[in-house]
Symmetry: C2
Subunit: 226 residues, 2 copies
Amino acid sequence: MVRGGEKQATAKAEETRERIVDAALKLFRDQGFDQTTMRDIAAEADVATGAAYYYFRSKEELVMAFYVRTVEEARTLLPPAMARSNDLGKRLRAIIDFKLGQFAEHRRLLIGLARIGIDPDHPLSPFGNETRSIRDEGIAEFEAALHGSNVRVPKDLQADLPRLLWLYQMGVILFWIFDSSPKQARTRTLLDGTLDLIVRLIRLSSLPLMGPLRRRLLQTIQAVTI
Amino acid sequence: MVRGGEKQATAKAEETRERIVDAALKLFRDQGFDQTTMRDIAAEADVATGAAYYYFRSKEELVMAFYVRTVEEARTLLPPAMARSNDLGKRLRAIIDFKLGQFAEHRRLLIGLARIGIDPDHPLSPFGNETRSIRDEGIAEFEAALHGSNVRVPKDLQADLPRLLWLYQMGVILFWIFDSSPKQARTRTLLDGTLDLIVRLIRLSSLPLMGPLRRRLLQTIQAVTI
DNA sequence: GCCTTAAATTGAACATGTTCAGAAATGCGA
DNA sequence: TCGCATTTCTGAACATGTTCAATTTAAGGC
């Protein structure tokens, strides 16, 4: 049994696994998630139908495999991109632009992921237990963006702000999946309009006057999130 | 052919249709959306499997039928509930509480609706064309809440604010579907924490100082929404 | 009452995600 | 190299959403 990585796979198995992901990604990209059948994928990867289920629990998990790939890519490529400026707005934008760039070719594919996300009972829900490490890595990206930036973050915000920004990013990505405007121009507009506002809000939140309001908001956020 | 209402159905057909919805709702409630098969539903309604597809295009459309029922119920019950106060916060709360009350028994069922919602290509997406009239009715509820309230809304906000509040409501409902805390207590906390804030924001937005910021936000919102 | 047309209904067939019992391949100690 | 355990893979079977050709039922005019 392979699958979670509980047992380390042989080189050959690893190669088969990759072949299945590659086949799936190619077909997803060319004909969309729903239009691609598991039989198609297996045929494209030159394995039997059931083989895919030896490596992946479901069709959606193949999308998740793609997502994991992008996270790994981000791990090496994001830090240098971030180092280019210490302006918080630019740093946040760098993260989100990078992600959207990674997804660009596979926009329709993310519908498969979104469907997972919407189902709180699904093991692969982005808010669930099984995806914690991926999620934590995503949140850490925003922590890093804040850390090296030119914006001071009030102490009591420091613990929650990265997660809030990550949540914002998830919202943007969701919007982007929906966005049928040419080249997803509306998403760019959304980013232009809101990112700058967020940075300004973070800046304002440091003002002493804002203490009570900030605490009130934080309290709500903490009470609401798990 | 029935289905959209293109042809008016006979009384008997209408009765069959209702029987199918009732059967579906009963089974959805008792055993969940995914665990209920179309064969189960047909059997419970004493019709053949295919009959359900004479009236509904898909399993999800049965959930939509439930949703339409709640909208119709709201049409008669919401106005009186709203008339009880002209405090905007209370009026908004009345709408949302009423909806959550309607859904309470069928929380798991809404996952089926959420899956539709997340797929921008689905004909029944809450942002799509086919659901316009339902959506407009929902937005109108918030328009009414604003109209008879004690809060003055700046002119340039009046066109968009109801839709924004409706969007907020959708977000709350989505959160509520996810909310696994006992009796969905976290959703109540979220409402307590954010509704009051929203009302205060609307109030603040009238201040002359807020003009530029308000215009900037509005511009973004208008550029971003369809 | 009979005929014609449309509406309503049937149930088998189909498509596709998923499972599973077993076959083949592989690795490994003796 | 042989035997055995484990991993990898197979393809048929299954479950379930959906479609569809065919049948039954109902409505309306004559």
